[in-house]
């Protein structure tokens, strides 16, 4: 059974809840582990076949459109690590009213490309998650379904 590590970072909980929906959708078919970026050891990734990363978009150090600080910290620790052949999937929560909607996802996509990782499918960008809960939950489930199909 493929082992998947889902790493999330969150302030308000939306990325966590979205991550849980994705995890639950994949639970039956894969060995799923979900953990907070702040509690992730950089070497944890070595023990898994696929890594799913989830982050909201915030200002960091005066720069808009950045991943959550804890996700950034993890990515910085991964900077010099080789991820050649490692498969990734990315999701994020954001607000379309904001010009940098889900810019953290773009940032992480670039990072994965730079460290030699492979993106399994187009990233998931969730809008206004808590207030469009029904619709965005469906989107998250569909995305997890797509991922499942690709891995089967």
């Amino acid at each position: 059974m493929l082992k998947i590590l889902l790493i999330y970072a969150t302030n308000s909980g939306s990325t966590y809840v979205a991550g849980k929906i994705i995890k639950e959708a994949l639970n039956h078919d894969f060995a799923m582990t979900m953990q907070n970026a702040s509690e992730t050891n950089p070497n944890d990734a070595d023990n898994f076949d696929i890594i799913i990363l989830g982050s909201p978009t915030w200002d960091f150090g005066g720069k808009d459109g950045m991943p959550h600080e804890m996700m950034l910290e993890l990515l910085n620790k991964w900077q010099n690590k080789s991820f050649a052949g490692k498969r990734f999937a990315i999701f994020g929560c954001g607000d379309r009213m904001f010009v940098q909607f889900c810019a953290a996802v773009d940032y992480i996509e670039k990072f994965i490309a730079n460290v030699g990782g492979t993106l399994l499918l187009p990233s998931l960008r969730l809008n206004n998650f808590f207030f469009e809960l029904e619709k965005e939950t469906e989107l998250a489930k569909e995305w997890a379904g797509e991922l499942k199909k690709m891995l089967k």
Binding site: T10, N11, S12, G13, S14, Y16, V17, N36, S38, W58, E69, M70, D95, F130, F131, L133, E134, T137
Partner: protein, 285 residues
């Protein structure tokens, strides 16, 4: 079984993006789904402040009290029907300034109520004045030269006053916050859960990253039955030195268990006695 969606209301959320209230809101709804807290078994009461709007965003029987008074309202609800799960949402201003007296005496009474203390160390709704939890020297609109008062320690206060479940969690740690709300509700007696939450707009001192970098989990070495150890832990606060978890838990008779009149039935299940007061009125005429 209900879902998160069942607890949704049509009201537009007015909290700022990134507000710690979102974490508390989500954790509470998750706990409600797990534990099946619904309109037949649960009531929520809130005070005044940004936190108080939570009433508008959770589809459960609710009451928004006067500033600082959610605990007395919750106390009355519990007294009338002690079978209900009763939750109080209150802010650090609401609970520790305007409502400080209520927290003390409700702790003494040990009613089976869960108080969720939204602690952002500021008055957020009124745009950022110093609260009883603001740090010494904190500069705000109300203390432009710096706060000359020391911050109040709500957990030490609650333990000293007699609360039988005292805990602290960070609002961004959803799994632990959800678990803690369930645990606090299952505890028989007065439970106080201090939730460290940033006010992302007005309090630049206690940010998400501040809490994420400086909290540590209390482990099994901490004896939650030991009141002295619990007091010692409540005194810790600083860089890499903010404990979170259960500080203290004791098994003491609750107010409801000691009130003989409601031993067999709740007050709402008892018939209302109709008394003829005409004779009495005549006596005073």
């Amino acid at each position: 079984m209900q879902t998160l969606n069942d607890l949704k209301t049509p009201n537009v959320c007015t909290w700022c993006p990134g507000c710690g209230n979102f974490g508390i809101w989500t954790a509470f709804k998750q706990a409600a789904v797990f534990e099946d807290w619904n309109n037949t078994n649960t009531v929520i009461v809130a005070g005044i402040g940004c936190h108080g709007h939570i009433n508008n965003f959770i589809k459960l029987s609710s009451f928004e009290g006067l500033h600082g008074r959610p605990i007395p309202v919750a106390s009355g609800i519990k007294m009338a029907n002690h079978k209900l799960n009763v939750f109080v949402f209150t802010g650090d201003g609401d609970c520790l300034a305007e409502g400080g007296n209520h927290l003390i005496h409700a702790s003494r009474r040990n009613q089976d109520i869960t108080v969720i203390l939204h602690d952002n160390a500021i008055y957020g709704l009124t745009t950022g004045q110093t609260s009883p939890r603001s740090s010494h020297g904190y500069k705000s609109k109300s203390t432009p030269l710096g706060n000359i008062d020391q911050p109040l320690n709500p957990l030490a206060l609650a333990i000293a006053a007699g609360a039988t479940f005292v805990a602290r969690v960070y609002s961004g740690d959803l799994p632990r916050l959800t678990e803690m709300l369930v645990k606090a509700n299952k505890h028989k007696g007065f439970a106080v859960v201090q939730v460290l939450q940033p006010c992302v707009t007005f309090n630049k001192e206690y940010s998400h990253i501040f809490f994420q970098e400086n909290i540590y989990q209390l482990d099994e070495k901490h004896n939650i039955k030991d009141k002295r150890a619990a007091f010692a832990k409540t005194l810790e606060w600083g860089i890499k030195q903010i404990p979170v978890g259960v500080f203290y838990e004791a098994s003491e008779p609750t107010c409801e268990e000691q009130t003989l009149q409601i031993k067999d039935k709740t007050l709402v299940e008892m018939p209302i006695k109709k008394r003829d007061i005409d004779e009495l009125l005549k006596f005073y005429q």
